[in-house]
């Protein structure tokens, strides 16, 4: 792991991680006979050895006084070290279905003394999630399927106005308008449900 102040208050952290996990327990492949013979509906399986490698990078700080930012990146890679056959092999292969790369970033810009612009960005690359649902609930009938999901880029934007710092007994009155999912990206996160489309909102806060 490397931690470094790059310039002024801009800090960087780079973290590489390596896991060697013996006896890692995951859900068995729902299509396998191993799974279907289970008296429990959703059967677990023991993977003898799993390797997980990852990288995380964080940078944040001010570029100039009114402009600050953060960038955060994560990489995950899962590997099953064992025979590719049998229920363990199939379950082990599914470990790699999770999204490998994720980037989050944000800009905060003080346009005027009391006006702040906020822009956030989120990226995640493609992944496959296994969805298991008991339908009808409580029936012990499980409907399981693989749900592939595309990569996505989502932007959120807000403008925050400090109305006043102190007026009478009211302090720090702040009004914020925001647009989430600015470009109306059509995306899913894990369970096969479309995530919320473009939405608009406003918030008012104050202290006294």
């Amino acid at each position: 792991m490397l931690t470094r102040r790059i310039w002024k208050d801009i800090n960087l952290k780079v973290d590489f991680s390596y896991y060697e996990i013996n006896d890692y327990v995951v859900s068995a492949d729902s299509k396998s006979s191993y799974y279907k013979k289970s008296p429990w509906g959703r059967r677990k399986i023991n993977l003898d050895k799993v390797i997980k490698e990852g990288v995380e990078v964080e940078i944040n700080g001010h570029i100039i006084d009114p402009l600050s930012f953060y960038v955060s990146y994560a990489y995950n890679d899962w590997r099953y070290k064992g025979p590719n056959t049998g229920p363990a092999g199939v379950a082990g292969e599914k470990l790699g279905d999770r999204a490998k790369n994720r980037v989050n970033a944000g800009l905060r810009y003080n346009l005027f003394e009391n006006t702040l612009l906020l822009l956030d960005y989120k990226y995640q690359n493609e992944q496959i999630a296994e969805v298991c649902e008991e339908d009808p609930p409580g029936s012990d009938f499980w409907d399981c399927y693989d749900n592939p999901m595309d990569s996505y880029d989502v932007f959120d934007f807000a403008i925050e106005q400090t109305l006043f710092k102190k007026r009478g007994f009211i302090k720090d009155a702040v009004l914020k308008f925001y647009v989430n999912n600015l470009f109306d990206e059509d995306y899913e996160n894990s369970r096969g449900y479309p995530m919320t489309d473009r939405t608009y909102g406003g918030a008012l806060s104050f202290k006294f």
Binding site: S72, D156, K176, N189, F206
Partner: protein, 477 residues
């Protein structure tokens, strides 16, 4: 319900005291202010300010990243801490909807909630209702208004947390009790409105009288949801009382109560098996159950927490304890109105002492205990003891070395309550108790490179090597 009413009465009493105390003392405060005005002015010597001028929203250290919730700004209204955490790439949001957040909806470093620890003031959250295979953490039950910061500790290198912390630890720190300069309490109000009739309203009140402090928060969240059958209505109240001890220690007792009703999105696919019930006014949804089921989860969890901190000549003592009750009713009303109710009770305690035992050795020794019960049936009893030494080997080289011993008893479910079958037919018991124990070494070494070159100022490299162990990952309770 009676319990809920009792808690409601407690909160009404708390609310009354919170409002009554400031009103009665405001007059007294004014008198004191008048007296002070009459006093002679005091001439101060030169003052050197050493504190940082501006609080950072995100603080990065080799061991952790800390987010100051008060300072952190997002382009939206955070519903709970997930909306802040998911800005960090180490956190993977996995929920079906960002408008209606449910249990276990984030991963950390690729691990799900059974393989990383979420803690409040250092005490791990164990279970939040539902069936045995899930529902470990519901982030909405942590009152947002009482949160000061979130500490993200990546990886399993801390001996202070259970072996379950493979991916790391999310430690939510509540507001540190502090003395108030005036008797008037601080109020903070926030109200927001978003598409799909999504509303968030929040009221926080914090104050103190002499060495006594108090706080109260109320949060209301409701939404019609984006997906079909995905309304949510959540009310959370919390309160706390505390006393600031001599030597800057404190005792704080807090309680929270929530009433939550969340509908679960249903299938809405014009080509799927429920195409006859397709409603074009909602987005197409391939997942989910029969739209006529209208499933939803209702719950009324509550918890009590005690935090004590006291510096003494023999180290800084910290004590934490909690009790939490999490019930959940799963409803799907298709004619016969079948429903399932689950009920979990958990207790936990932690005591630790941080002491500079020798020069350059900051030693933390502690013990923690957790008990988890399904209704009143014991499901999990865990004991943990730990010692950690933060050793400054040379001024630029430090080592955090720890040892943690865990003793865990788990009552594994041996009977399928639906089919009546036994998992292990040779033992005809509903639960089978099994014990596990392990000694787990942890280490984290940091070397600051400042002296090597001007180009390496404020640069450090670190390496952590730790053993990971937990029996809880298997069919976790």
């Amino acid at each position: 319900m009676k319990k809920a009413l009792k808690i409601g009465y407690v909160y009404l009493a708390v609310l009354f005291i919170i409002i009554a105390i400031p009103c009665s003392i405001l007059a007294q405060e004014k008198k004191e202010a008048d007296k002070q005005e009459k006093k002679e002015p005091v001439k101060l010597e030169q003052i050197t300010v050493t504190a940082p001028g501006e609080k950072e929203a995100i603080t990065i250290t080799p061991q952790s990243t800390t987010i100051d919730v008060e300072e952190y700004k997002t382009p939206g209204t955070p519903q709970n801490i997930v909306d802040i955490l998911r800005d960090q790439a180490i956190i993977d949001f996995r929920g079906s909807s960002d408008l209606v957040q449910t249990n276990d909806n984030i991963y950390m470093r690729g691990f799900d909630t059974r393989s990383f620890v979420t803690a409040v003031d250092g005490l791990a959250v164990e279970k939040v209702g539902g069936y045995k295979g899930g529902h470990f953490v519901d982030y909405s039950t942590i009152p947002f208004g009482q949160i000061e910061s979130i500490e993200i500790i990546p990886g399993p290198h801390s001996a202070l947390y259970s072996g379950r912390s493979l991916g790391g630890v999310l430690n939510v720190k509540t507001k540190t009790p502090k003395r108030y300069e005036t008797l008037k309490p601080d109020f903070k109000v926030m109200t927001s409105y978003r598409s799909y009739n999504t509303q968030t309203h929040r009221l926080n009140l914090d104050g103190g009288v002499g060495s006594f402090i108090y706080g109260f928060s109320y949060e209301k969240y409701r939404t019609d949801g984006y997906l079909r059958n995905n309304n949510a209505d959540i009310d959370t109240i919390s309160g706390r009382f505390g006393y600031i001890l001599p030597s800057d220690g404190y005792i704080s007792l807090s309680a929270s109560y929530q009433e939550a009703s969340r509908e679960m999105p249903v299938n809405n696919d014009p080509e799927g098996k429920y195409k006859d019930y397709y409603d074009s006014s909602y987005p197409k949804t391939e997942s989910g159950s029969n739209p006529l089921d209208e499933p939803r989860r209702d719950k009324e969890p509550y918890s009590f927490r005690l935090n004590v901190k006291q510096p003494t000549p023999i180290g800084k003592w910290t004590l934490g304890a909690y009790y939490s009750h999490d019930d959940q009713v799963y409803r799907y009303e298709r004619g016969d109105q079948r429903r399932y109710k689950t009920e979990w009770n958990s207790y936990g305690a932690n005591i630790q002492n941080e002491i500079e035992l020798f020069e350059n050795h900051l030693v933390t020794v502690g013990f923690d205990y957790v008990q988890l019960r399904y209704k009143w049936q014991k499901m999990d009893v865990s004991y943990g003891g730990f010692i950690q030494d933060r050793w400054s080997i040379i001024p630029r080289l430090s080592l955090i070395a720890g040892l943690r011993y865990e003793d865990i008893n788990i009552w594994w479910n041996n009977k399928n309550f639906r089919t009546g079958e036994y998992c292990n037919p040779s033992i005809q018991k509903e639960y089978i108790k099994k014990g596990y124990h392990q000694l787990v070494p942890k280490s984290f070494l940091t070397y600051e490179l400042d002296d090597l070159s001007d180009a390496l100022r404020d640069t450090s490299i670190s390496a952590g090597v730790s053993r990971i162990w937990t029996p809880k990952s298997y069919c976790q309770i």
